[in-house]
């Protein structure tokens, strides 16, 4: 089973995440902000971060995770509507990026690819 921590402030995408990552292969936990996630003391197989978050941004959160001893080796997928997300995410150690709008198949594939 793959555990996914999904950090997204948009309620509909939170809802989608719940629908996509269900079933026997996945366990998903939704966090509505970086701050909420940083208060968490358990760790997933994959982080999926929205770039644009209230407070600490997805990119900064990625930096923090990649600097944390417990989290630095956990893959991070950043999703964003920004067309330049690839260029922004690569230098801070993000494992993969998804540009919105993406299809659920792409999301699922990305999560499976990075957690394999």
């Amino acid at each position: 089973m793959t555990t996914v921590f999904f950090v997204e402030d948009d309620e509909s995408l939170q809802d989608i995440a719940g629908l996509v990552f269900r079933g026997p292969e996945f366990a998903v936990r939704i966090f509505e902000s970086a701050e909420k996630l940083l208060g968490e003391r358990t760790y997933p197989h994959v982080y999926v971060l929205d770039k644009q978050l209230p407070g600490i941004s997805g990119l900064d959160l990625c930096r923090i995770l990649k600097a944390g001893p417990q989290t630095r080796n956990i893959p991070v997928i950043i999703v964003s509507a920004d067309p330049d997300i690839k260029a922004l995410a690569a230098p801070i150690g993000a494992t993969a990026v998804l540009e919105k709008p993406f299809s659920i198949h792409v999301l699922l594939k990305a999560v499976m690819d990075v957690s394999a």
Partner: protein, 686 residues
């Protein structure tokens, strides 16, 4: 003197013989000899006299000898003509003067002459002078000197009639004065004022005025008149003033010596003249191109015998007045026209600038100065490059070169730098100014400040960017819900319509996503935010792949790829794919009846050329350049109700141009279109 001397000598000799014893014969002999001597002397005298007479008669100057007559108080009162030469009569105009006195001939002869000749007769002091002789109505150049015994009071006068020369000189002096006075005048009324006063003074008349003839009226704007006379400045309908019509109809100077007696006037006109105290006058009509323009009138309240020269002078004055008035009018009209233009130019909301071919500024209007924050004089001392934003120099120079070499006008959007350093956006229409040889001499630039529009455009682009960006998250959700729903429906047993509708909905969601991408790309291009991931690639593979994908979307078209071995180009694979998808889908869309679509790649010199050819509706000539503009759509039903917001080709051309390439179209309506682009070949140096 000679003959008298000789006479005395011989007398002395006779006296001398009286006291000596001489024979009769010798006396007779002496006498004969003496007689002979006298005859000889007389012959010589006659010869001398004849020579003198011949000399005097041959002179082209008048000559006379007069005896000056004095009264008891030794005042010279008259003179008698003793001798005159051949041209005397012609020069003086007096017949048979010999033996007669001047007072008899011309009682009104001025006292001056008598005094002068008296003085010469008494003092022997000769005199030379030029003087007017009233009684003779002539001007003379005179040299007078005493001759003979002073007791005889005889004076010889050598003289010449210089009336014509004098009058010519006076006329010249007057015309010179008139010209001098007129030269500085630019107001028609002032011209009339000056002319009439000068002419009145010179001719010694009582009134002088110039009528302008306009639309059946004689208009006197200014007149010169004797202090005790009223001005006649006014507007007179010609129909009420037959004298003016008469003058115009005469067509030449109309001269009246005495209104009381002249036969030139009928009774009605005569009465009119008498009423207005115009007793003698010269009226000069000015007629140009067969139509009367003006009349110069000089008038006296007394009869006057106008001399030919005076009439000529009035005619000359009238002519010059007309010219001066016309010139003043033309100058005034030009001034007014210039003022109009200046007002229009300076009140224009467009900045107007004239520059020389070297880029030196030659003229600026007020608005241009306001736009740039400089004073006009500052701008005129500057080169235009000092106000053009440095990054725009090159683009501007290329267009300007076309104007100079081919006389081609152009329009350009560029930036200027204001005096304080702020940057403004302008839209400039630049047109050539040709000299009379047809060469480009300068350029005029009409410049509109579009900084505000540019800012609004930027805000609009930013808005489109933000809006489309913000749409992405909900559209991601909608798409995901659709997909999830489709996945769930597949597993149940719902009516097939459900599945079909869901598929249609998902297709429309994809369409919406494409649209959002277009908008976002546009705003990124406008904001110069389009980033390219450039790498050296071979286009053949990319083209084949997109031809294959394109073919999947249509069954009515046959899409063919014709390639050849290509050198690599620097390109962003994704963006180039976007361009190809767009060109191929356009080819399909605008050939609604189906048919061939040919995609071709060729190597041409240092470039790779890719073309997409369809055999569809084609593009009208006037639309061929515009189709690459943002939001441009051909307004033509033949395009078959095709959808789109007019961004595809704009984005394609921008992507190609960011690759240092060019994109264009060749098309014939109803035969089809070929869109093509060229990219530079990649070399190691890059």
């Amino acid at each position: 003197m000679g003959n008298k001397g000789t006479g005395n000598e011989s007398a002395n000799r006779n006296e001398g013989t009286d006291g000596l014893p001489v024979s009769l014969e010798s006396c007779l002999l002496d006498l004969r000899q003496a007689e002979e001597t006298i005859r000889q002397q007389q012959r010589l005298l006659y010869q001398s006299e004849a020579q003198h007479n011949l000399l005097f008669d041959s002179l082209d100057e008048g000559f006379c000898t007069v005896e000056v007559l004095f009264d008891n108080a030794d005042q010279s009162i008259d003179y008698r003509f003793l001798k005159v030469n051949g041209v005397f009569e012609a020069q003086i105009g007096i017949e048979n003067p010999l033996g007669r006195t001047m007072r008899e001939i011309a009682p009104e002869h001025e006292q001056y002459w008598f005094e002068m000749l008296g003085r010469i007769a008494l003092t022997g002091k000769s005199q030379r002078l030029e003087h007017w002789a009233n009684a003779l109505e002539r001007f003379y150049d005179i040299y007078a000197f005493r001759v003979g015994d002073p007791m005889d009071r005889q004076v010889a006068i050598l003289f010449k009639d210089i009336t014509a020369r004098k009058r010519q000189e006076e006329l010249q002096a007057y015309l010179l004065r008139l010209n001098d006075a007129l030269r500085s005048l630019s107001d028609p009324i002032q011209v009339q004022d000056v002319v009439t006063h000068l002419a009145m003074e010179y001719l010694g008349v009582d009134r002088c005025y110039y009528c302008e003839i306009e639309e059946g009226n004689a208009i006197i704007r200014r007149d010169a008149f004797r202090a005790d006379l009223p001005s006649v400045a006014n507007v007179y309908p010609l129909s009420d003033f037959p004298i003016l019509s008469t003058v115009i109809n005469a067509g030449h100077p109309f001269v009246v010596f005495d209104a009381h007696t002249t036969e030139l006037l009928d009774d009605r006109l005569r009465q009119l003249c008498l009423q207005t105290q115009a007793i003698s006058f010269v009226d000069i009509p000015v007629i140009k191109d067969d139509s009367p323009c003006g009349i110069l009138c000089v008038t006296c309240c007394e009869p006057r015998k106008w001399r030919k020269e005076e009439i000529e002078l009035a005619r000359e004055t009238a002519e010059r007045t007309w010219i001066a008035v016309e010139q003043a009018r033309a100058a005034e009209a030009l001034r007014e026209s210039e003022e109009n233009y200046r007002a229009i130019v300076n009140q224009s909301i467009a900045g107007i600038l004239k520059i020389g071919l070297e880029g030196n500024m030659l003229f600026t209007n007020d608005q241009f100065c306001r736009m740039l924050g400089y004073e006009g004089a500052e701008l005129l001392a500057m080169h235009v490059n000092r106000i053009v934003y440095p990054e725009d120099h090159e683009r501007n120079a290329a267009a300007f070169h076309g104007l100079v070499s081919e006389g081609r006008a152009y329009e350009i959007e560029k930036r200027f730098v204001r005096k304080e350093g702020a940057i403004i956006w302008v839209n400039n229409h630049v047109s050539p100014i040709f000299n009379n040889k047809g060469e480009v001499d300068a350029a005029v630039i009409v410049s509109i400040d579009i900084t505000r529009q540019k800012e609004l455009e930027r805000q609009k682009d930013e808005f489109i960017g933000i809006a489309s960006h913000e749409l992405k998250t909900p559209i991601t959700s909608i798409k995901a819900y659709g997909q999830i729903l489709a996945a769930m429906i597949d597993q149940s047993s719902v009516p097939p319509t459900f599945t079909q509708l869901l598929a249609k909905m998902n297709a429309q969601i994809d369409r919406l996503i494409k649209l959002i991408y277009s908008l976002l790309n546009t705003s990124r291009i406008a904001g110069n935010q389009l980033t390219l991931q450039l790498e050296p690639i071979n286009l053949n593979g990319l083209l084949e792949e997109h031809v294959r994908q394109g073919q999947l979307t249509t069954s009515r078209h046959r899409i063919t790829f014709i390639g050849e071995e290509l050198p690599p180009v620097m390109a962003d694979v994704e963006r180039m794919g976007q361009v190809m998808d767009n060109l191929i889908s356009n080819a399909i869309k605008y050939a609604p009846k189906g048919g061939d679509v040919i995609v071709r790649a060729e190597s041409r010199g240092g470039r790779v050329r890719v073309s997409v050819r369809d055999f569809g509706v084609g593009i009208p000539k006037e639309a061929q350049e515009k189709i690459f503009d943002r939001f441009y759509r051909i307004n033509d039903a033949s395009a078959g109700g095709t959808s789109g917001i007019g961004l595809g080709l704009y984005i394609c051309r921008e992507i190609i141009s960011r690759h240092q390439g060019q994109m264009a179209v060749e098309s014939i309506p109803d035969e089809g279109s070929t869109f093509y682009f060229e990219l530079p070949v990649y070399t190691e140096r890059q």
